[in-house]
Symmetry: C2
Subunit: 196 residues, 2 copies
């Protein structure tokens, strides 16, 4: 039996559902256990799922023409992840999604998500709020990238996402922050001297 408790708490924060409505939602989810380094979506494929992380961690990244990997997002327990562009347009994904630790996930197929909106319109609200929160986080990241120094961006990251550091490799964090692993190490050494 997959563990729906975290997702259930997540839902209760935003909408009120009766047991039957929740059961319907849960019946649409495809649970999976994935090993570290497992690829869930490959750039070029069409993204067909929104994925909720129950345990472990995932990352999404894009690869540039020089084969450099750029981490776009992390997903830790309680978070959703997808290539939103591909999921919404059903065109080939730009991102690859991969496990950075052994993970337990719940996958919601796009078709079932649409069905859910039809059958239980309250889910429009749930996903509207989730998407708003994701948009705010993205806008904050764009603002930080434009206005903060590398050190400030790192401090902001550990302030908000310290738990990501516990499972994400440091070179992935450096990539997410748009700096080289060497530069991030330099910042961390400097801050360690300051006891931050």
């Amino acid at each position: 039996m997959p563990d729906f408790s975290l997702l259930s708490k997540n839902i209760d924060k935003h909408i009120r559902l009766d047991e039957e409505e929740k059961a319907l939602f849960f019946s649409y989810l495809e649970p999976a256990s994935v090993k570290k380094r497992k690829t869930l979506l490959r750039a070029g494929e069409v993204c067909r799922y929104s994925t909720f992380v129950v345990d472990g961690a995932l990352k999404s990244f894009s690869v540039d023409e020089q084969s450099n990997e750029h981490v776009i997002s992390f997903a830790v327990p309680g978070w959703w992840i997808a290539d939103m562009y591909s999921l919404l347009s059903q065109k080939p994904a730009i991102l690859t999604i991969e496990a950075i630790a052994d993970a337990e996930i719940l996958m919601l197929p796009r078709v079932k998500q649409e069905l859910l909106y039809e059958k239980v319109p309250k889910f429009e609200r749930f996903f509207r709020i989730l998407t708003e929160n994701a948009l705010v986080a993205n806008q904050q990241r764009i603002i930080n990238n434009l206005t903060l120094t590398a050190e400030e961006r790192y401090l902001h990251f550990i302030d908000k996402y310290r738990f990501v550091l516990e499972c994400a490799p440091l070179h992935n964090v450096a990539s997410y922050l748009g700096m080289t692993p060497e530069f991030l190490s330099k910042i961390r050494r400097k801050l360690a001297g300051k006891d931050v």
Copy 2:
């Protein structure tokens, strides 16, 4: 009588409303004519409106500690703009919103937006879809910033947002793209030589 036709078309793309529901929505909107350089929201104030652009253009920007302005987004006819962080949290805004050309706008107060969700739940769907589209555009921007050269970012911008160039000052576009106006001019001269 304010012009609701563009907004009406915008709505029809995503949800079906009867005339009464539309009229209710329109009755919640506060129309305004604003002059170029007029400030609609100042960083530090609380954002209380989602603003729809009927004509003209707005920009949002943040100012760093060195008083440099960083353009975060543009809004041209058919687009919505807000400091989403402040609008959702009702905490002080990080962004300033200003007209970059004389503009006709329709302002939806946050309280009325919440009332709308209650009275016509179909608007949950409308704003869910709008927010998803905004999220995709934001993610694309983050990916571009991490993976493309300055020249490629500019080409991507004119490919998708050529109409913004018609009303936004070039130094605002440079700021949006994260480069100096001088560097953008250099790229434009180079591309002009190539007839792009």
